[in-house]
Amino acid sequence: MEIFGIWLAAFLTLSIYSFLYRDNPFYRFAEYLFIGISVGYYIVIYIHQGFIPFAWEPFWAAVKPFWPGIPREAGWIGLIKLIPIALGLLFFGGLSPRHTWLIRYPSAVLVGFGSGISIPLMLQTFIFEQTRGTVEPFAAINAGTLSPWGIIEAVLMLIGVACTLTYFFFSVEHRGPVKWLSKVGIAFLMIGFGAAFGNTVMGRVALLIQRVDFLLNDWIGMIIGWLGTIF
């Protein structure tokens, strides 16, 4: 079974890479197979990890006491579990143009809960903490505890933040000093994008290396070993 798996993986890898030459049936077969398997896998996972434990089981637990022939152990209170399930079902209103308005109710609950939980935390995480991180080194400079390189870093960071924010400040026309500040901001943005692009290249090349490593060592290595046992 393992040998079959290696051969299949090698065939599919080569089929996908064959697109680098030109589009072809092998590539399309591998692509459609990947999409089909992915969709099937995700549906099964979501049914088993999402629908059954969070919708079906609570639903069954709520209605079970009212099923004919089953003693009523739990009271009406168990039916409260049906409220979130019913709200979730309202999303299916989107399937019918006449009932699309039903989506507003679960959406309102989601947005309300999400905003209530996330907004204070996001302000703290992404605004207050980042502002502290930008200005805190200046307290260390004032206390004389920052190294010369640390001072350069702190000043550069403050310039970068101020200029980049200026670039995105559209309430003032970008003329005179504002224009120059925003140009410096663009330079910082480009450096940031360059770093992100370089890291992305590193990540993508790592994917290629892993596949080549598999083809050379696992697949061809297996074939060589197999030939070695014959001759």
């Binding site: 995480t125 090349v205 790592a206």
Partner: protein, 271 residues
């Protein structure tokens, strides 16, 4: 000549890249690896933990993130098991459970760690931020069983673990933006210490959190994995692949320089 260079068939570049990967793979080149500060910080943090401390590892990646994140996951797990630090594995990615469980079992077997006592894998739960917030109150309210279906109450490692208060560190191996979620919902809300190992695509997004201390350490892509392997003195795929990667980077830099030279020469000729 210039026109030929500017209109070069892209498939020639593909062949050059393939050669830049295949030749070093067979030659087994060993280039020096220096350890960056963010990787060192994570290593030191785990190294300074007392034996029997518990950390949580979130394996938030599927097969596409495997080449970069598996080597770093392997290295961090090995360091934890060698130091008798207990590990609770979780995932928020639906395609991660099998990968994560197999990796934990493999490293545990190599290090002699015992399932249920030294480590446990709780599996996947949908919900993202709700899972992160829920575990801050009670891990058992989110994960009633582990990946194999054993009730949490019956697992020795979970005996004294209720929520994040008993977890010394969370390491998120991520190919998406889950680290920002952990910082937002677990660090800011519950003061849980967070570290991260990420794919190359999102490294740049993580640096602001290092500077503020919201991340205690960062393993950045395959380069970070190689650095970590060097720190724990266990060379594996990370160190092997980063050597190959260096050759491809050299080729890409060369091609970029060549393309720019040709571009500027042609511009000058047109003027």
């Amino acid at each position: 000549m210039l026109d030929k260079l500017m209109n070069m068939d892209r498939r020639i570049v593909f062949i050059l890249v393939a050669l830049a990967v295949i030749i070093p793979t067979k030659l087994r080149v060993n280039l020096p690896i220096s350890v960056s500060e963010p990787t060192q910080k994570l290593y030191d943090y785990i190294d300074n933990l007392e034996a029997d401390s518990t950390i949580m590892i979130a394996f938030n990646y599927g097969p596409a993130g495997l080449p970069e994140l598996h080597p770093m996951g392997r290295a961090v797990l090995k360091q934890c098991f060698d130091k008798d630090v207990r590990v609770i594995g979780v995932t928020l990615a639906p395609d991660a459970p099998t990968l994560a469980n197999t990796l934990m079992e493999e490293i545990a077997q190599e290090s002699g760690a015992v399932a249920g006592k030294d480590y446990v894998f709780l599996g996947y739960r949908p919900g993202g931020s709700l899972v992160m917030l829920g575990m801050g109150t009670s891990i058992a309210s989110v994960f009633e069983n582990d990946y194999n279906g054993t009730a949490l109450a019956e697992i020795p490692i979970m005996e004294n673990i209720t929520n994040y208060d008993q977890i010394s560190l969370l390491v998120d191996f991520a190919s998406g933006n889950t680290t920002e979620g952990w910082i937002n919902y677990a660090n800011t809300q519950y003061n849980l210490q967070i570290a991260s190992g990420v794919t190359g695509v999102i490294i740049a997004q993580m640096y602001p959190f290092l500077q503020t201390g919201q991340l205690v350490g960062l393993i950045a892509g395959i380069a970070g994995a190689a650095e970590y392997e060097r720190l724990i003195d266990a060379p594996a795929k990370g160190m092997q692949w980063i050597n190959i990667e260096s050759f491809v980077h050299l080729l890409i830099v060369g091609l970029v320089i060549l393309g720019n030279i040709a571009f500027f020469i042609r511009n000058r000729q047109e003027e």
